[in-house]
């Protein structure tokens, strides 16, 4: 499947006009992730150390400049980079007039809560691909994501799995629970899995609740990294957490750091992490690996 895509892209390339390498700056991590996955390394990204902690992949090379805080990117550095395009989101709308003096600004909302998630993801990827002149890579990325998700869905389809609860501890008494408007929910829907959290979430796809709010759920608890240092140990000592986790069939498991508002690469990684924790060892996952 992948080789077929690759051949298709190679055939397409002479047909498409060669696009100049646009110099793009991405303030938002989602845009940075997608652009890097498309092969268009952004000139600068905000808060690179935090990106490495929260998003992880695809990795940003050393030549990408750190622009400072996301809410206050360093304007002098930005203007010295001479970008052709600056990408922002609605959260940084107040900066647009200032940024507009450096380069054309495009406000690309990452995900609008009222609309379905997955089509927005596809649309965003295609749009970024167009902007950077890498439509072929964009289609390849989407196709690869699609095929990966379909394969994993097929594996999981055979098993009857309990609902999942996706949490991220904030401190020893509160956790973020992820629900609608997050990438996780979109991938769960795509894979035919159920989310045990039905009580709504904010515009960024989560809700901060005390641990007692999780007590009534019957689900498999999945903890998403990064967890603040020392919180893990304190959670385990917490009788309420012990009660909540003892009521589930299996102990809580950890998933690697994946951005909750990520793009196709994050979607793939999330699906693969789910596959890793949900499937028993001898299963269609091994067969899948043999096929590749």
């Amino acid at each position: 499947m992948r080789s077929a895509c690759l051949v298709f892209c190679l055939l397409c390339m002479p047909i498409l006009p060669a696009a100049a390498d646009t110099r793009i700056v991405a303030l938002d991590w989602t845009h940075a992730e997608i652009l890097t996955a498309l092969g268009q390394t952004p000139l600068g990204v905000a808060q690179i150390p935090a990106y490495r902690r929260w998003v992880g992949a695809p990795q940003l090379g050393d030549q990408v400049r750190d622009l400072g805080l996301r809410a206050q990117p360093n304007l002098e550095l930005l203007s010295a980079l001479h970008p052709d395009l600056i990408l922002t989101t609605a959260l940084f709308a107040h900066l647009e007039s200032r940024l507009g003096r450096i380069a054309p600004v495009q406000r690309l909302p990452v995900y609008i809560p009222e609309r379905p998630f997955w089509p927005q993801l596809i649309e965003l990827t295609r749009h970024l691909a167009r902007l950077s002149g890498r439509q072929a890579e964009g289609e390849a990325l989407l196709a690869e994501t699609e095929s990966r998700l379909t394969a994993i869905e097929a594996c999981l389809h055979t098993l009857s799995l309990p609902p999942l609860l996706l949490v991220q501890p904030v401190d020893a008494h509160h956790v973020r629970v992820f629900g609608r408007h997050s990438l996780y929910q979109a991938v769960l829907d795509r894979l035919g899995l159920r989310n045990a959290w039905h009580q709504g979430s904010n515009a960024w796809g989560y809700r901060v609740v005390g641990i007692e709010a999780l007590a009534e759920t019957h689900a498999r608890i999945l903890i998403i990294e990064p967890v603040p240092f020392g919180i893990e140990a304190r959670l385990e000592r917490n009788p309420l957490w012990q009660y909540v986790s003892s009521r589930q069939t299996l102990a809580p498991q950890h998933l690697g750091a994946i951005w909750s508002q990520g793009g196709p690469v994050s979607a793939q990684r999330f699906a693969e992490e789910l596959e890793r924790v949900l499937l028993p060892p001898a299963s269609c996952r091994n067969e899948d690996q043999q096929n590749d």
Binding site: N74, E76, G230, N238
Partner: protein, 663 residues
Amino acid sequence: MTEVQRLALPGLFVLLVLALGLSAYATLQPLGGTDALLHPHGLQPVSSELSHLLVTDSWAPRLCLALLAGAALALAGELLQLLLRNPLASPSTLAINSGAQLALLAAALLLPALEINRWWIALGGATLSVSIVFLLGWRQRLSPLTLVLAGLMLNLLLSALATLLLLFNHDRLAGMMVWGAGSLVQNGWRGVELLTPWLLVCLLLTALLLKPLQTLQLGEASIRSLGVNLTLLRLSGLALAVALSASVVSCAGPIGFVGLAAPNAVRLLGVRRLSARVPLSALLGALLLALTDQLVQLYAQHSALFLPTGALSAALAAPLLLWLLTRLRLAPAVETAPPPQVHSSTGLSPWIRLALISGVLLLAALLALGYGRAGLTPGWTWSALDAEAILEWRLPRTLAAASGGGMLALAGTLLQRLSGNPMASPELLGISSGSGIALLIGVFLLATPDRGDLALLATGGALAALTLILLLNYRNRLEPMRLLLSGVALSALFEALRGALLADGDPRGQQMLAWLAGSTYYVDLPLALWMAGTSISLLLLVLPLSRWLDILPLGDACSRSLGLPLSRVRLGILLLAALLSALATLAVGPFSFIGLMAPHLARLLGLQRALWQLLASALLGAGLMLLADWGGRQLLFPQEIPAGLMASTIGAVYVLRGLARMR
């Protein structure tokens, strides 16, 4: 004790116990009521098991911890007030709490492996900060004013440093925001287990020290003649107070109010004997904190907005402090610092001095506009940016910082001349805090405030704070101690509000934090020009008043006899000072202390007459703020430290140094 007082104390206790009982019942209801407490296995095993667990492992330990922490804080406050003979001493006013908090924040970031030993880290931080306060007050024989002032400045300095840590490590420290605002939430009995032994040990030691502590109410000579080692007594009492406060901070974060309120209330209700005061304050403190915490829980059940216990307690501390100010008779000890020695006879005329200062200002401006780390070349260089880029990026910020600094300096000079008190400044009087509070509330309530709205809000807040201060100090003719304490109260309120809004986790909150810390990031050229224009016109407005400003420090009688319409002049000057500081707050935030430093520096440079001092402090204030803005932009490039934060750190250090040198 009069009849009323005799009944007041037991009456108060009965009232508090009843209120606590009622609110505890109310908070227990959603968890399943008393059934959940008594019967673990009800009709529906699962949900009643959960209710029982919630009650025994969440509700009950929280209530116990509130009682214990309240007792510990009240005991610490009582010890401090006794040792220092200062009714306003408490763990929060002497910077004990903020020292512990900063130490824990720094440890969480830099040495996460030490997380497990929180208690020791908190103790270390608390000891360090209280030692600094004491060292500063030592030369003044620990006079009440000096200690409170030193505590206030250290609080602000430590708070500035904590803000810095939070600004740049928001994602890693997000988990500590709730604790950092003072939270008694518990899961399990671990907190109670940690606090109980310390509380018992300290109670025991206090009981042992009771006899010697009673002698503190006598004069020093009497104490010595009784054979009590005063230094040892003071140190041990202080160590107890610090240990108690540090324990509470490591469990529940910084909580103010209780350590101040309980001992004062007990004393105001007429209890004199120490052996009665200590247990009664502890009891009262326990009830007060427990009641506050229950109210917070009740509020949380009916509202989505997050309100941490520490924020509510700090918000309650402000009106309490203000009320105490009107009630208490403060010892009329030496308060005002003598003006610093001036080398007045060096012969340079004021014009030349002013010209020199302007020259330095110009140099600073050139530095800010041209030098530093910019662009893509690593290291510090004279800017590779062309003139157009400088005009765009650096000039507005430099201009705004300079205007803000100049306006604050003018406000400070006006206030210092008006009150004859070298410690008067918009920040210490609470005028800036008033603007800050108004801005915080306004920005969260209004959808998209524009500049005009913000200016109105800031001015309104400053005027409200000014009115409050005037009302409280009207009869006392702006007596220094009370003025400063009004400032302390208002700044505590501001900090509480800011802590609560940050703990909420609202993304706007982080932006607010940067903006209120005095960042010039959001200034553009039209705003900068407007600010420059306003500051120059206000300066021109103020200069003709210099004749009055020369006369005012000579005293009321003198001023009146020279034909000055005293009350109108005072009012006018105060209004001008409020306007100046409100407008400056918009650019550089509330706590930069330029208004305190600049007039002092102008004096030190030999410019003592009003006209020269006004001009010089405006120029010096502009220069200082300019340099703070430049430093903030360059030190952690590409991150930016807000100008106000830089200036407040420098300013706080300056004041602390000044206090250390005072005789």
